[in-house]
Amino acid sequence: MGTGTLDLPVKSETAHARMRRWYSWENVAPYVFISPFFILFGIFGVFPILFALWISFRNWKGIRGGEFIGFENFTRLLTDSFFHTALKNTMILGLLYTTLMILLSLGFAALLNRPMRGRALYRTAYFLPVVTSMVVVAILFKFFMGSTYSPLTPVLGMFGIEFRGLLGMAWAIKPILLVMMLWRWVGFNMMIMLAGLQSIPAELYDAARIDGAGDVQAFRYITVPLMRRVIAFVAIVSTIGMFEMFEMPYLLLRSGGGVDRAGLLTAPFIFQQAFELFKFGYASAIAYVIALIIIGLSLLQMFASERTASE
């Protein structure tokens, strides 16, 4: 043995000891503490998603089961005129809703980002519909605007206007849904936009002003480009929200969508197929197709946003 080295007996760790060390409380504790989320997510998130996929290939009738039918539920979507109506209505409303939502929420946020009297009051007022019960809103709307039995009927009658209620008019249904959804969510998206605006350094605006830029130019060349990711976020969330919109159309028009199915949207249609008609397999197939459409649209928006940025 060379000098200066000391050969000490090395205590070799047995496999058993290694296992014991690995399974010691100190090592396991973090996993135990984070496990409730994963257990609940597994039960209420992952399992239903996988189960829905399984029943989308079956003629599932509840506990009586149902036979495997391959892609029949998916191919049926191609010929179901009610599904086409629901998808078309949702797309039209989604396009209008997302566009108007971006314009309104960004516009209101830009206005309320300036120093002005009563700014906090305005911000609160715009946010108030977000915390208002949609059930109450829908009932009040139905009462005031829905039918001939409305306090508006005699009032408008004095001016020679015949009011027959808006919910029975097919042409009025989409604008009603659009206005109510914008009213409901513009405050929420405005707050997101406001947070984005406040993250833009004030020096950029100061420099622009020194260079002679006006308010419109500053908005066009500073605010909009720097808010690109926030706008993309609002666009994606609004698109997803449109496809998931259930409570308002259901409360106003039930699952049928009202006259001419003008208010038939995809979420109430899925509900109708599953819980009113018990076509669980078909409803699951629709849900999967809608999920794919949402993913596709979201990717498209993200791609468009990134491309604009690179240009």
Partner: protein, 439 residues
Amino acid sequence: MTEKQFSRREFLRVTGAGASAALLAACQPPPVKVEKVDEVVVTAPPMEPVTIGVMTWFNHPFKDLLPQFKDSNPDIDVEFIDSGDGYSAKVATALASGSELADIAGAQDNQIKLWADTGGMADISEYMAPYEDKIVPYKLANSTYQGKTYGIPWDGSPCLLYYRRDVCEQYNIDPEAIETYDDWLAVGQQLVGQSDNKHRLTGLEKTNYFPSLNWIRQQGGGLYDLEGMKVIIDAPEAVETLEFLKTLWDSDTIFQNMDMWGTQQASYKDGSSAIFPQAIWMANSIKGNAPETAGKWGVAPLPAWVRGDSGTYTYGGSQLMIPITSKHKEEAFKFCEYSCLTQAGSEVLWTSGDLFPVLKDAENWEIINEQSDWYGGQAALRMFAEANGKVTSYNFGIGWAEGRDIYTQAVGEVLNGDKTPEQALADAAKEIRDRQDLG
């Protein structure tokens, strides 16, 4: 010999076991009955009370009959479950998934066949066999699916023409003189004209099946034939009914686009809806929403399509059912049986909830002839009983929910003026046939 030493741990273990045994002994229920037979003591096992859960959207009449039920069934406790909002979706999900629900749940007549098809409802044919001849046929027809009985008929739902006495007196209208639907429309025009649009006949919704589909049934038609194999919604009586509905809609004698519940109730309260066909159970809702109108209401026979005809119809109506997951099916049936299939129970359902008895011999009960203060002293139950006796059987069919949805769209098309009744109903019938593979 060594003396055994008790450690502190052993001492605590023994003491604990002794205390537990004493506690269990104290908690044991006393023997119910002790019989002495030839010096041999026989102890009958104690009867454990069974608790059953009842979940409907209208529990309070059952709560009211509970004391009477307990008198004859002391071994059955009943727990009422408040379902909250979304009753049908909750029950449907539980039935389809086989998860526990309650021992008894309510179902609309039109839901029984669809819900039974999930396999989530118990077949109660054996329990119901003794009652088959005692129940009015149209309720019994709605309680069965594929030859098996799944529902216990809860309430009959005959309709009459409700009217506000004060409004009719004010405008000199005799509702008893309304014999046909044309008479009803004429009375409406008189009412609207004299009251300057303040009062109308009723409110209607473009995409609702009531009352037009019920009017079609009054003439012997419907969505499906009695076997549920043929779609008959394009029959001549249906076309004629929608022609009248369109005339009524355009006449200004009704409130248009009126939601069938919320605003309808408000219009009953202020009397703006003054003369309208409705089911017996609606009285209970009006009593709750507009108690101040007690005594101002009356009922008259329904208008006929042809003068002299006496056809009637129903609206709504429910059943009780026992989910397959119930662990106490026998006890659950006992409660249903007492509630709906005995005179004592049925009378409480009527007095507490305006729920009409489903038993044929109800016509002979004394209570039927009692005058009702709410109906201004009329023997209203007698009138409803007469209407109920004339209701002919009909079939909701397993595809009713989808068929109804398609039908109501056809109604909307007619009222919009987009299609003639003949076209709209022909298209609707074809759509239902194609989707449900029926003739």
